[in-house]
């Protein structure tokens, strides 16, 4: 269906005028809850243009739908009108819909082969919930249903008061296409893609999202197969043909459903080597051993640097031996996480400190209490 159709990469698939490199990731969070529009984050990610090749760009923005914050913002891409009516039939049957309409875009020559892009502000119909099923669990089930069973339709964003905007193109073009200068967010996360193992298509651009969780990723997850099979046991079905999808679902499973701390999450995704575990003090050693034993199938093998975000947190993490770059910076209440140092300085004159996190050790920016920001799922 999708892949190979209008969703696919543009015809000029290889751009030879390009140095081969890696993806770019960038995140910024105002821990005081102050909001900015999409211009700084676009400027920052565009500064790392060498790291992407025009086959994927995307953004996650938190705090952008304050008037409809009680509703899940379902953002979907459709192959055609038939796919839209099939999906809308399901949405009307399953949700109370507060508002629906096309996502505003601007026509620019750099972004082509565009799917239909719609958003729906929804609340689960109480009659649809299974016994003891929470609204979040219901949402995950509904997203999986659409992605797996409704031909030509994909959910690319399903959180509250947040949205993912992504597609095939350089990130700065995708940002202009989605008119991100018109949105005000306290957390912005961005990605420029350089796909190496799978095709560049609209659904495969980053961020990957489920509920409030968004993940952007530079690297490759060589354990994708075992991670995907493990997640399928918990109802997550990978349909987007990009390894990063497993990280988004693993984060939802571990943080929201299993209630792990961020440190424990890091211990699962980027588990320390056994020889390091052997040298930990007793209590920590037992904990690390237990996490590796229980969640061995969610160890992310291979090089990665990622930014995980939800409504109250922004987390940076690399693989345990740091095979991909990540640098953090702080300026007052602003926290930055980036593939490279320069873009942080480019958009922030007053950067007080920048540092390189150690492999496997998470960098966590947390929303200050009293900012009126509701905790995101699992937080």
């Amino acid at each position: 269906m999708f892949r190979g159709s209008s969703f696919n990469a543009p015809s000029r698939f290889f751009r030879d005028d390009k140095d081969f490199s890696g993806c770019s990731i960038f995140g910024m969070m105002d821990r005081g809850g102050g909001k900015v529009n999409g211009e700084p984050v676009i400027k920052a990610i565009a500064n790392m243009k060498e790291r992407s090749n025009g086959l994927g760009g995307g953004f996650a923005a938190y705090g952008i739908y304050p008037d409809l914050a009680e509703f899940y913002a379902l953002q979907l891409m459709f192959e055609d009108e038939c796919a839209r009516s099939r999906a809308e039939e399901f949405i009307r049957r399953s949700f109370e819909v507060a508002e629906a309409g096309p996502i505003p875009t601007r026509s620019i020559p750099e972004v082509t082969d565009i799917p239909l892009l719609w958003r729906y502000f929804v609340r689960p119909l109480p009659t649809c919930l299974q016994e003891e099923e929470g609204e979040d669990d219901y949402m995950v089930r509904a997203v999986m249903h659409i992605n797996v069973n409704i031909e030509g339709a994909f959910v690319f964003s399903s959180g509250k008061d947040m949205g993912v905007f992504k597609g095939v193109g350089f990130p700065e073009d995708i940002g202009r296409f989605f008119r991100l200068e018109e949105y005000e967010a306290y957390t912005w996360v961005a990605h420029g893609r350089f796909p190496t193992n799978t095709q560049g298509w609209w659904g495969g651009a980053h961020p990957f999202n489920i509920l409030d969780w968004s993940v952007v990723h530079n690297g490759e997850i060589s354990s994708y197969g075992i991670n995907r099979r493990h997640l399928e046991m918990f109802g997550y079905v990978c349909t987007l043909h990009t390894d990063t999808e497993v990280i988004a679902y693993a984060v939802d499973l571990l943080l929201r459903r299993h209630g792990l701390s961020v440190d424990d999450l890091a211990m699962v995704l980027a588990a320390p080597l056994w020889e390091q575990i052997d040298r930990l003090p007793r209590g920590k050693r037992e904990r690390a051993t237990a996490l590796r034993q229980i969640y061995g199938s969610l160890l992310m093998n291979g090089p990665f640097s990622i930014i995980i975000s939800n409504r109250t947190q922004m987390i940076g993490l690399t693989d345990r031996i740091r095979l991909r770059p990540l640098v953090a910076g702080r300026a007052g209440k602003m926290m930055y996480i980036s593939s490279e140092e320069a873009p942080m300085h480019l958009i922030e004159d007053g950067l007080e400190r920048t540092w390189i996190p150690s492999g496997g050790e998470p960098i966590v920016a947390e929303m200050e209490v009293g900012t009126g920001m509701r905790a995101g799922v699992g937080a």
Binding site: I321, E341, A342
Partner: protein, 264 residues
């Protein structure tokens, strides 16, 4: 991308003053910037001041003349890659791959640098005032009189000197008490040539297999005094005080640490 050398005619971007060249790198793509640098070096410039550098890669790459390049800002990855002769001075932090396969010349960074500093470096010297990230001096090498040098003022992260084949690395640890050891792990993994000098100690668990720790001998101390002297000349500080901190030397036990790993 088209390289717009016309911009060299624009005095706001490119200004010449008695063998001194000023470049405003705002909005310049690295290919334009590096074309300007190479052209100015060929035209006989002795000093280049480059302002508003934000992430432009490969600055100084392939330049084979002894010019001095002063960078104000944050140069991008692979600063001075394959460089052969120039001196580069950076007033703030540098990114990944400083001095990648550099052949000769000198790089002085007044801030911190990222990962893989001095990767595959073949000659010349690099001085970093602050810390460096992962895998500094990975596969640094030496050949006859070409003996590269990397001096790090503060600390390094894991895999310092991974697969190191030659050259000299010094980690001064000025961000901690001399009694407090270097925290980096897997130091010298696969090292089979060259020498690493650490001011302060290191936990043997953090060393790669096949690395031997010893007291520096007089010839080592002489080299260290020279390098510490240069470090203090660039960044300030008291060489005698730094030397008093006490060093250990890391060197490979064997030139073929994995010789018997796959062949029995």
């Amino acid at each position: 991308m088209k390289i717009d050398l016309e911009r060299m005619g624009d005095p706001r971007v490119f200004r010449r003053d008695n063998g001194h060249v000023h470049i405003d790198a705002s909005e310049l793509h690295y290919r334009e910037l590096n074309a300007m640098i190479k052209q100015a070096a060929l035209d006989g410039a002795t000093l280049m001041e480059i302002e508003n550098v934000y992430g432009q890669r490969y600055i100084g790459s392939g330049v084979r003349l002894p010019v001095r390049i002063e960078i104000r800002g944050i140069p991008g990855n692979d600063l001075g890659a394959f460089m052969d002769g120039p001196e580069i001075v950076v007033d703030r932090n540098a990114q990944d791959g400083v001095g990648n396969t550099m052949n000769s010349g000198n790089i002085v960074v007044h801030g911190r640098a990222g990962d893989i500093v001095a990767m595959g470096m073949r000659g010349g010297s690099i001085f970093i005032r602050g810390s460096v990230g992962y895998r500094a001096a990975i596969h640094m090498k030496e050949y006859m009189k070409h003996r590269p040098v990397l001096v790090i003022g503060e600390s390094c992260q894991d895999f310092l000197g991974e697969y190191m084949a030659g050259g000299v690395v010094v980690v001064l640890g000025l961000d901690r008490d001399p009694g407090q050891g270097l925290r980096a792990r897997h130091v010298g993994t696969g090292m089979h040539g060259g020498a690493i000098y650490l001011r302060g100690d290191i936990d043997p668990h953090n060393l790669g297999k096949g690395v031997e720790v010893s007291e520096p001998e007089e010839a080592d101390l002489e080299k260290l005094r020279e390098l510490v002297g240069r470090f203090c000349a660039y960044f300030g500080g008291d060489p005698a005080e730094i030397m008093a901190g006490g060093f250990v030397k890391l060197a490979p036990r064997s030139k073929r640490p994995y010789g018997s790993l796959y062949a029995y």
